[in-house]
């Protein structure tokens, strides 16, 4: 056992966690921003914009990965532009991991935030306005805290999804050990080699991390929900 753990390459854990955290942070702010804008749209525009923003969640991840690859490939305009002007490479880099994870996980954040915003009593916003509060203050000090539980659960789901992303990541970032090799990709790889011990180990790690996060956040949001009846 000790030998197994000592000989193990721990890099997938670090890469997955880093990717998950960064993608969640980006999705968090983009999701809140998008949700805030979409809530204000009229019904027709809402249907269109909401459809576009939700698309990555419903598409097969390989399709999303393919589209990302089309855009950012170093042989295509956007990819060439980023590479030559800013020295930024997306394909086969950690940046690709983040981009893939963000695109796939973002809709979860956006949809949860939107649902939470739509539950808010509009009078709270009106009250803030008549009290002279700036719109940004109303958003960050009233709307976001009031929508707290919904946003928190959106954030957990986003993190879990971003950390576990496989399809789009493998296409855009590839599986380069120590660089873009996430846990999900490592599991797929070692199973192909018939190494069920290593695969099983990583499966247990993923199960533990995911459960721990959900458990902790349930505790935190649960405290605010203590008045909710159990039935």
């Amino acid at each position: 056992m000790m030998v197994f753990l000592q000989s193990l390459d721990w890099s997938p854990l670090i890469i997955s966690l880093k990717t998950g955290v960064v993608a969640t942070i980006i999705s968090f702010f983009l999701g809140l921003f998008a949700a805030r804008k979409v809530v204000k749209l009229n019904i027709r525009w809402k249907a269109v914009v909401d459809g576009i923003l939700t698309l990555p969640m419903v598409l097969p991840p390989t399709v999303a990965g393919f589209i990302l690859l089309l855009i950012f490939s170093r042989r295509r305009p956007v990819g060439i532009f980023l590479d030559s002007q800013f020295d930024i490479q997306v394909v086969h880099t950690w940046l690709g991991c983040i981009l893939a994870a963000t695109v796939i996980a973002f809709p979860l954040m956006y949809r949860n935030a939107r649902a939470a915003f739509e539950q808010i009593d509009a009078n709270l916003v009106y009250a803030g306005r008549t009290l002279g509060m700036k719109e940004s203050n109303i958003f960050w000090r009233i709307v976001v805290p009031t929508a707290g539980p919904g946003i928190a659960s959106g954030t957990i789901l986003t993190f879990a999804r971003a950390m576990g992303e496989y399809g789009a990541t493998s296409m855009l970032a590839g599986n380069i050990p120590g660089k873009t090799g996430t846990i999900s990709q490592r599991i797929a790889m070692v199973i192909q080699d018939g190494d069920y011990a290593t695969a099983g180990f990583w499966v247990i790690v993923v199960l533990l991390i995911t459960f721990l996060i959900i458990f902790v956040v349930n505790l935190v949001t649960g405290r605010r929900m203590k008045n909710v009846k159990r039935w």
Binding site: Y126, T130, L131, G132, G148
Partner: protein, 361 residues
């Protein structure tokens, strides 16, 4: 001086079209739900935008009075709610649920930390919120929430205050006491206060000047007491709580035939042309035994409700030719009820001249 509103707004089938100006300190807007009274307040506060018209207020401050345009479709003025300095109390108080009492009161204040603390402390004391500083709105009673909402508005020093059905979210037994409290708490506020309600008791207690609304337009306006005493139209009388109406035909300057009640009414005062209806409040009938007197209605008892401190009789006018005439409501207070119980059923109900309201439909 005061507020001037002249706005129109179309919302589907509903048309708001209202025009008034007033310098009364306490203005009441009475009307059934959906009549546009809350919409009017929201337009003044800038939460909703009218299609056209203008809204302006003027306030009395240390330098004398100054007028401000809040909205004007011609001059293209449309101040944001943030710039209007209009205090708005929502039906459900709209306290920020994740902020405690102190944070709620301080939420809109744009003054330095020390001043802010002092202002909040002043409000806590003035609205008797000591000991509740750290409580969240969800932990407060309805009455306490209302005081926090009022404190939050007052801390902001608005030029004018809107109260949107302030008592409708409260239990019946709290309402009475809190209405009284609210009037007392508003006493040292020198600006105008506009209160919207569908309850005539609330409005009567609170307002000096009264606007009566229905279906988006103004039915009547004037001094509150004046409107309750002489509502002029049947609709307004009914909204001020008058229960009994009879169609009337004017015979001469002092006589009316009440066709729904089947009697001829003799009045000492002049009956103006155009009167075609009378109203009579349920508490003002006078029971008569034996000999019929002037202005007496003959009736048959149709039903009776005993309330804790009141009895309500529902009576069918006997001399009315029609079968579908409305029942007459006669409400009797507790002390009178005891006297009535000791006697047989009265033979007639007499209309007292001073309680007859001359109306047109």
């Amino acid at each position: 001086m005061g507020i001037a509103v002249d706005i129109r707004k179309k919302l589907g089938d509903f048309n708001l079209d209202i025009r008034f100006s007033s310098d009364a300190k306490r203005i009441g807007i009475l009307g059934p739900s959906g009549c546009g009274k809350s919409m009017t307040l929201k337009c003044i506060a800038g939460i909703e935008q009218p299609d056209e018209g203008s809204i302006s207020i003027s306030t009395l401050n240390e330098d004398g009075s100054s007028g401000r345009k809040l909205y004007d479709s011609d001059g293209r003025v449309n101040l944001k709610p943030q710039k209007r300095n209009v205090g708005y109390m929502f039906q459900n108080y709209a306290l920020f649920p994740t902020m405690n009492v102190v944070q709620n009161i301080a939420a809109g204040l744009k003054i330095s930390g020390e001043e802010k603390d002092a202002r909040v402390k002043e409000m806590i004391e003035r609205f008797h919120l000591q000991g509740l500083e750290k409580h969240l709105p969800g932990e407060l009673s309805g009455g306490q929430q209302q005081r926090v909402a009022l404190a939050r508005i007052m801390a902001y020093k608005p030029d004018i205050i809107m109260l949107d059905e302030p008592f409708s979210a409260l239990d019946q037994h709290l309402k009475e006491r809190l209405q009284h409290e609210m009037i007392a708490m508003l006493e040292d506020y020198h600006g105008q206060v506009i209160m919207v309600s569908h309850s005539r008791d609330e409005i009567y207690r609170f307002s000096e000047e009264l606007l009566v609304m229905e279906n988006g337009s103004l039915l009547a306006r004037g001094e509150t007491q004046q409107i309750f005493e002489d509502p002029r139209t049947r609709k307004v009388a009914s909204m001020t709580g008058c229960k009994n109406f009879s169609k009337a035909e004017r015979i001469d300057n002092h006589t009316l035939r009440l066709t729904d009640w089947g009697i001829v009414l003799q009045l000492k005062r002049q009956v103006p042309e155009g009167v075609n209806c009378i109203g009579y409040r349920a508490h003002f009938f006078e029971p008569v035994w034996g000999q019929r007197k002037e202005n007496c209605i003959s009736f048959r008892l149709s039903g009776m409700d005993d309330l804790p401190f009141e009895r309500r009789y529902y009576l069918k006018p006997e001399e009315c030719g029609r079968q579908d005439a409305d029942l007459i409501c006669w409400f009797v207070q507790d002390n009178e009820r005891k006297e009535l119980d000791a006697k047989p059923q009265p033979d007639y109900l007499k209309l007292r001249e001073e309680a007859v309201m001359l109306l047109h439909e």
